[in-house]
């Protein structure tokens, strides 16, 4: 938690209203998103109870499962959901554009648009991941056949759930996180996880938020009291009014989802949001192609090389996302100013025509002096960037105390055209106010990884091809001691996770 965000929370308490922590929208909001609100049966492992789904706020579609413990009904639900979700997704796999690759020597195709699914909260994403896991390996023939749409749905859901882990991806968005990126409330972040309450803080304030605490849940878990009083009797006698009850339960959240979309659309979009959506379209295109080519379902677990490569992609996406947000939004950049990783100042001297001819070829290297009263925690030699001119580098030559602050002498390179005279406006002029930061958008290549087929034995050896794997839909399947789990974390930290590895058969 940065001090700036914490301060905004304190302001929200006093004002009784949520406070902005962003001045632009950091998220692509689709013109035609699909909203999906899943509901599950308590106690069961991922047994859907209902879902409200659709692309038109005026026409929600309700899917229900009369007997959630019944396997056939569960897969009928999956087929139903597929009937809405798959055509929606497919509708984007039509028009393509050419994208230059390899410095223009080649082109690849990319769909001009991609789907965007909205769920209320992170638990909704978790549900989709598990539901994808429980459906993508299902067989459409043999002993317990399921409708053909079921495994296809499973593969799409797995794809979306995986993209949701990628920082900055907007193919599968959860409303709680999307709102939390732009506003803070006057309560704890744990309490913000209740979608209706968080939205009430933003729309109407603290009092309305307290009211909303007693309102219907946003799923996927139901309220235990509701289970005991309402749901259990209905399910026990297979009551025909179950769909109506579930409709009424879900409808307020449905409306809130669309209000959230409207709220976010009102914010001006950040400049670099488009870049991230481009990457999302690439991911969508690639996966649609894999499906079209008849590729196997995603494995239950990544092999060692795939897992390492994925981790690397996640890390670089996270740092790119952080930099892009800071460059797009002065309020996010302010956090870096507070910590000394960025400072604002005024240009007091400028030598835009300076040429360095000490090397083989003369090069344009203008120098500017920037005066600032803010803390400067950089050393001479450091390379800085200004969000206003992201392709230009500013190397710190010297830092000297001056008046109430410091003078920073900088040497510029890049972003000034190809000639020995800088293009007009490309060198900051005297009097211009400038923000400089150690953050940089420059591409940083990750370390090299071996090919999956060359996975060293220390990391489990090469992954087994899909066809050779035992069919994971045949239960039981976890018995052979390939999991030994250890819990991490202490009492304060509710964050244990299974660490998997080669294990030992019990006891």
């Amino acid at each position: 938690m940065s001090t700036l965000t914490a301060l905004a929370r304190a302001q929200a308490v006093v004002a009784g209203r949520a406070q902005p922590i962003a001045t632009v929208r950091h998220l692509h909001v689709h013109d035609h998103p699909l909203v999906l609100i899943p509901l599950v049966m308590a106690g069961e492992a991922n047994a859907p109870l209902a879902a409200m789904v659709g692309t038109d706020p005026a026409r929600p579609r309700l899917l229900t499962v009369g007997q959630p413990r019944n396997r056939d009904e569960r897969f009928a639900f999956a087929a139903d959901l597929a009937a809405t979700l798959v055509p929606y997704v497919d509708s984007f796999a039509t028009d393509t554009e050419d994208v230059a690759v390899d410095r223009g020597r080649d082109v690849r195709r990319r769909y001009v648009d991609a789907p965007q699914i909205w769920v209320p909260n992170p638990a909704g994403v978790d549900f989709l991941r598990l539901f994808g896991r429980s459906t993508r390996f299902r067989k459409t023939d043999g002993d317990n056949p399921v409708p053909a749409a079921v495994p296809l749905l499973g593969r799409w859901l797995t794809f979306f759930a995986n993209t949701a882990e990628m920082p900055g991806s907007a193919l599968l968005v959860n409303a709680v996180q999307a709102l939390g990126l732009h506003w803070v409330t006057g309560q704890s972040s744990a309490e913000d996880a209740q979608f209706g309450v968080q939205l009430a803080w933003i729309e109407a304030g603290a009092a309305a938020a307290r009211e909303a605490e007693n309102g219907p849940v946003a799923g996927p878990a139901t309220d235990p009291d509701f289970d005991n009083r309402v749901l259990a009797p209905l399910i026990e006698r297979s009551a025909p009014d179950l769909p109506r009850v579930l409709h009424d339960l879900l409808l307020p959240t449905w409306d809130r989802m669309w209000r959230t979309l409207a709220l976010l659309r009102r914010l001006p979009v950040g400049e670099r949001v488009r870049l991230r959506w481009d990457a999302d379209r690439d991911a969508f295109t690639a996966f649609a192609q894999t499906l079209a080519e008849g590729g196997p379902p995603q494995p239950r677990r990544d092999g060692a090389v795939a897992a390492a490569a994925r981790l690397q992609r996640l890390e670089s996406a996270a740092s790119r996302y952080a930099v892009q947000r800071a460059f797009d939004d002065p309020l996010v950049l302010a956090e870096y100013r507070l910590s000394g990783a960025a400072f604002a100042g005024t240009v007091t001297l400028a030598n835009p025509d300076r040429v360095d001819d000490s090397g083989k070829r003369p090069v344009l290297r203008p120098r500017i002096m920037v005066h600032t009263g803010e803390p400067v925690r950089v050393e001479p030699g450091a390379s800085l960037t200004s969000p206003a001119r992201p392709s230009q580098k500013a190397r710190v030559i010297s830092i000297n105390p001056a008046g109430d602050g410091v003078d920073v002498l900088l040497e510029l390179s890049g972003g000034m055209g190809r000639r020995l005279v800088a293009e007009p406006g490309s060198v900051p002029a005297v009097g211009e106010r400038l923000i400089l930061t150690t953050l940089s958008e420059a591409y940083r290549p990750g370390g090299a990884l071996p090919e999956p087929a060359e996975t060293p034995w220390t990391h489990g050896g090469p992954p087994v091809p899909f066809a050779d794997q035992p069919d994971p839909s045949d239960q039981p399947d976890q018995q052979e001691g390939d999991v030994v789990a250890a819990a991490r974390g202490d009492l304060q930290e509710a964050g244990a996770e299974f660490v998997t590895g080669t294990g030992r058969v019990l006891p």
Partner: protein, 362 residues
């Protein structure tokens, strides 16, 4: 002491402890209020309802019935499935100690465990010293004795899918299991036996993937054990706390809500957002803590330099208040943060339409 506790509780029956309440108790060891109320066995849930701040701590019938069905499946046919998943041989004895009176059961437990060589022992009754009080634990657990070792077996009905499970649930199960390990070790110690016979590795038996088929995994609870021990020893001695309370103080649920609220004010609380999922009194305490930075969560409070009230934070940030010497650093930070925040907001939403603090870009 007993009578003082009875007096605090009043006419109601004392609530019994279980591993979950002890885990929760140590989750907020600095809270005197909880320590006293729990020591006296006061029903916090009913207390909260009575004073108009009910929380929701119910359990779904669906979850309960699935849990029971899973356990029954494991224990059917003389624990056939449980033996199978534990890799225990069929000749192993099974003893269920569930019987009606507490003392009987505890004696049974002591006797059985004292000479347990190879057995599955169900529903033992254990005791643990918590904040100077001996509390009974009625764990839903099986102690698995084999090769001279005792292992705690916990049956849970949440699913383990591809070796992964809900981290909050695993973590809660680990803490509870650690409470049992601790209680079992205490018991052996009292019997003059080696407490380290009880393994720090507990066995969690859960349904695998999306089936009802059991899978056993081993959890190492050493970390949870040491945290638990540290926090139990740190729990302020309840005796001292109770001695310091005014004479005649009572939380009898027959009293008026107003009187109970006044009584609560005599015992200091230490609210944190974590209380919301761990303590039945949390809605009341949250209301009491309104306006404090602690109510926003520890990370927020720390980022605000540890200043305790929200009003004070803003007064320091706006320079309306002279910081105390130890607040100087935090105040400078807050002022810089406010200046930067206002500057960025003003540049994005230029006057005169600049939103006031109370509005934002909605």
């Amino acid at each position: 002491m007993e009578s003082r506790l009875d007096q605090l509780r009043g006419s109601g029956r004392a609530k019994r402890h279980n591993a979950r309440t002890i885990a929760a108790l140590t989750g907020n060891p600095g809270c005197n209020r909880r320590a006293v109320l729990d020591a006296a066995g006061i029903d916090k849930q009913r207390l909260a309802e009575h004073i108009g701040f009910p929380g929701s701590f119910g359990q779904s019938r669906f979850a309960l019935s699935r849990g029971n069905a899973f356990e029954a499946m494991l224990k059917a046919d003389d624990c056939a499935r449980l033996r199978e998943v534990l890799g225990a041989d069929a000749g192993l004895g099974y003893q269920d100690l569930a019987s009606d009176t507490l003392t009987d059961r505890h004696e049974q437990t002591v006797k059985t465990l004292a000479d347990a060589q190879s057995a599955l022992i169900d529903h033992p009754l254990l005791t643990l010293d918590v904040a100077g009080q001996t509390v009974y634990l009625e764990p839903d657990l099986i102690a698995y004795a084999h090769h001279g070792r005792l292992q705690v077996v916990e049956i849970k009905s949440f699913a383990i899918v591809d070796g992964q499970a809900d981290s909050a649930k695993v973590s809660a199960a680990a803490v509870q299991a650690a409470v049992y390990v601790l209680a079992l070790r205490d018991l052996l110690q009292r019997l003059g036996q080696d407490p380290s016979t009880v393994s720090h590795e507990v066995v969690l038996v859960c349904p695998a993937d999306f089936s009802f088929h059991p899978v056993a995994v081993v959890l190492d609870v050493r970390k949870q054990l040491s945290t638990l021990r540290r926090q139990l020893s740190r729990l302020a001695s309840v005796t001292d706390l109770i001695d310091a309370l005014p004479a005649g103080l009572s939380f009898d649920l027959a009293l008026d809500p107003d009187e109970l609220v006044t009584a609560l004010a005599h015992i200091e609380a230490r609210y944190a957002p974590e209380c919301l999922s761990a303590c039945e009194l949390s809605v009341y305490c949250r209301n009491e803590a309104l306006g404090g930075t602690a109510a926003l969560g520890r990370p927020v409070r720390e980022a605000l330099g540890g200043i305790s009230s929200v009003e004070e934070v803003l007064a320091l940030a706006e320079g309306r208040r002279e910081p105390a010497p130890e607040q100087a650093e935090a105040a400078a930070m807050l002022q810089a943060a406010l200046r930067l925040r206002n500057e960025a907001l003003a540049s994005a939403f230029p006057a005169p339409s600049a939103p006031s603090v109370s509005e934002g870009p909605s």
